[in-house]
């Protein structure tokens, strides 16, 4: 290793193993998130100084095995294979040791220097599992450190071990499988030409080649090296005849048996252990009746808390901006300087006063529910309903995230295995009222028409999503593969972890959205100073005034609603030239509903369009835009007829 380079430590582990909690207790508050090059999948990383030595610590997305089955796993693994970290820290959930060891033995095959963090030993103890860490280390051939990341226990010992491994640069040796399978792997290793691009080592490459029968690289191989392909097919056929199962199953079974054997030898189960609090709680949470009542209660409380915190905070934060604007107007008059200052104030005020009060509590609570393990339980309970609209329970998390912001929600669809499910979920997410649209619904519908109208708006919105899901799935003929969802053990959420994740998400949002918000307000101020907004209003008049029966001046707000939905409200007030409280003097209650319905659905905002384009392709992004415009026009007309 070069002297001046900071060594890279990568945390790898199965989902829900406490990996991110461990990362947080190592990295502290300085962590940053970045996208993997060319993707929107995020990883968190941090440079830490431990007793004078620097380390770059990277937290990769959770992965069950080194054979990826969803796009998020695929990106995580190509990073692992491509970047060759100096040390891999494999975080293993001690309470489900044998399954965790399947990944550990696979990482062992990969052969990078490695340390195992045997995490959540407290949960294991509660389940009556007594662990023998030194024994496990001897059997795996790598250091094993018991940790309880939640309480920061064992973290120092883990880092000491990481430095020890860094100094020694000792690579693990894979633990051997059955002789007959090893012999076949040996045959493939011998077949590999000397210039073949190995992933880490020859044995690992050979195993991956054998496993990856139906993957695209198999076909490529036949063009590049027909000899190797023929040899590989022969070995594969022999192995399948030998074991009577497809090769991927033979290898999965070998790993499974090895992991089971190591787990059994390194742990003991105490019998007669009383059922612990989490099992009892779980039987209530997932109860066929109580479960749904609790779920409804959780959602209700969720939104209640957000609005109870958001409302007062909003008026508290917005007040100074309004007062400052009045002072400026009195002092400068309607000059260009005033318009510029007004644009800036509206932009910053919109960001600080309208978005943050609702967005921050939503992110925080969402993160807490995820930490607790409740989102998976909600997925279990809601699966049957989502089935009716052609989806399954794994879409619950992206949907709930969508209430915060559609952009990360669409990114989160990557945890769905099939492309069909991803496309359908991503097409429905833009119809979920994100925090920006919720702000509009609250500010306009709840404030002027009462909370029951806002609630009705929400309920109607959910029915709309169900209807659209049913409609779209009529066109997506390919059946959904169905739900396979791990239900992790319940964990008390860590305040530190939740706060940190909220902060990171907020930071990303501010960096992305605020420049747009301020820029948009500036442009609108300038447009109104130069009276150019009239032209845009005239162009949109047939739709806005004739079609929807709204004031002519609101045409311009639709343009900016496309940039960021939360701009719509500020833009509306600015376009009508009223302050918030005197809105009813210029438009009627009916017009408020029509405006809210139209603005909520008429087009996914710019960033949602961009993320749809990147995640599910141009064609589907255009479908989404067309769908939104169609739904918005149809619904607004319908509302206009009814109200």
């Amino acid at each position: 290793m070069e002297r001046n380079r900071v060594p890279v430590v990568v945390l790898v582990g199965q989902p829900n193993c406490g990996k991110s909690t461990l990362f947080n207790s190592i990295a502290g508050p300085k962590a940053e998130t970045s996208n993997f090059p060319g993707t929107s999948i995020k990883h968190t990383h941090s440079r830490v100084n431990i007793e004078g030595r620097l380390l770059d610590v990277i937290d990769l997305p959770g992965t069950y095995s080194l054979c990826p089955s969803d796009p998020a796993e695929r990106v995580a693994l190509s990073h692992l294979f491509g970047e060759k970290p100096d040390v891999v820290v494999n975080v293993v959930d001690a309470s489900i040791l044998s399954r965790g060891l399947e990944l550990a033995t696979e990482l062992n095959e990969l052969g990078y220097p490695m340390v195992v963090a045997l995490n959540m030993v407290d949960v294991a103890e509660r389940k009556g599992i007594i662990l023998d860490a030194p024994g496990l280390a001897a059997r795996l051939g790598v250091p094993v450190v018991p940790t309880v990341a939640f309480h920061g226990r064992g973290v120092k010992e883990l880092l000491d071990e990481v430095f020890r491994v860094l100094d020694r640069v000792q690579k693990p040796r894979p633990v051997a499988w059955s002789d007959d399978v090893e012999a076949k792997i040996g045959e493939v290793t011998a077949l590999l030409p000397s210039e073949f691009p190995l992933v880490s080592n020859a044995r690992f490459t050979a195993v991956k080649l054998l496993e990856a029968e139906s993957m695209p690289c198999g076909e490529m191989l036949s063009e590049v090296d027909p000899g190797l392909k023929a040899g590989l097919d022969r070995v594969r056929k022999e192995l399948e005849e030998l074991r009577g199962a497809p090769v991927y199953e033979v290898i999965a079974a070998e790993r499974h048996h090895l992991a089971m054997k190591i787990a059994e030898e390194s742990s003991r189960l105490l019998h007669g252990k009383q059922t612990s609090w989490d099992t009892r709680l779980d039987s209530v949470l997932m109860h066929p009746v109580a479960g749904y009542l609790i779920l409804a209660g959780v959602f209700f409380a969720f939104f209640l808390v957000i609005f109870k915190i958001g409302g007062p905070l909003e008026s508290l934060l917005l007040g100074p901006f309004v007062r400052l604007k009045d002072v400026l107007l009195a002092r400068w008059g309607p000059s260009l300087g005033f318009y510029l200052a007004e644009g800036l104030l509206q932009g910053i005020g919109g960001g600080v006063g309208i978005v943050l009060p609702y967005f921050v509590p939503l992110l925080f609570l969402m993160s807490a529910l995820e930490d607790l393990g409740y989102l998976a339980r909600a997925g279990f309970l809601l699966d049957a309903f989502l089935h009716r609209i052609g989806l399954h329970g794994k879409s619950v998390s992206p949907f709930i995230l969508g209430f915060g912001c559609n952009v990360p929600a669409i990114v989160a669809t990557r945890t769905l295995e099939s492309r069909r499910d991803r496309v359908l979920t991503a097409l429905l997410i833009p119809f979920i009222p994100c925090s920006a649209r919720t702000t509009i619904i609250l500010a306009l519908v709840a404030f002027y028409l009462g909370p029951f109208w806002a609630f009705g708006f929400y309920v109607g919105n959910i029915f709309l999503i169900a209807f659209l899901g049913w409609l779209i799935s009529l066109f997506l003929r390919e059946p959904s593969p169905g739900l396979i969802l791990e239900i992790p053990s319940l964990k008390p959420p860590s305040l530190k972890h939740v706060a940190q994740r909220t902060w990171l998400q907020l930071l990303a949002f501010i960096r992305f959205a605020w420049p747009l918000l301020i820029g948009g307000s500036f442009v609108l101020s300038l447009l109104s100073y130069f009276r150019a907004d009239a032209l845009i209003n005239d162009i949109l008049a047939p739709l806005v005034a004739k079609g929807l029966g709204l004031p002519h001046e609101l045409g311009i707000t639709l343009v900016f609603g496309f940039l960021r939905k939360e701009l719509s409200l500020i833009m509306m007030l600015q376009a009508l030239n009223v302050d918030y409280r005197s809105l009813l003097t210029v438009i009627s209650r009916e017009q408020i509903i029509v405006f809210t319905v139209f603005v909520s659905f008429f087009i996914p905002c710019l960033s949602t369009c961009a993320i749809l384009w990147r995640e599910i392709g141009k064609r589907w992004a255009l479908v989404s835009v067309g769908l939104s415009v169609g739904v918005a026009i149809a619904l607004s007309w319908l509302v206009r007829l009814i109200v």
Binding site: I96, R99, S214, P246, P288, F380, A384, P479, I484, S489
Partner: protein, 85 residues
């Protein structure tokens, strides 16, 4: 289907079952293997969500809990096990 076996959907609740086979396409089978469902594992159907919802399974061999949609559960073949898990 091996003799005396049934799918998880037909299996009695809360009694130990041994997995004797996993049917279906490669993608579903690989995913099940990843989540700790293998041949010879002992599992138990803990509950079924109403409205034809998913099954909640406790895998005694790997010690983890998983929800399987009915479509997936229909692909897992099991036999009842006598005695303790």
């Amino acid at each position: 289907m091996p003799e005396g076996s049934m799918t998880l959907i037909e299996a009695p609740p809360n009694s130990p079952l041994r997995i004797v086979g996993v049917e279906g396409g490669e993608a579903v089978r690989r995913r099940l293997f990843c989540l700790g469902f293998h041949k010879d594992d002992v599992v138990r159907v803990e509950s079924r969500a109403p409205f034809r919802g998913p099954l909640l399974l406790w895998n005694a061999t790997s010690g983890c809990r998983t929800a399987l949609g009915r479509g997936v559960a229909a692909k897992v073949l099991v036999q009842t096990v006598d005695g303790e898990e």
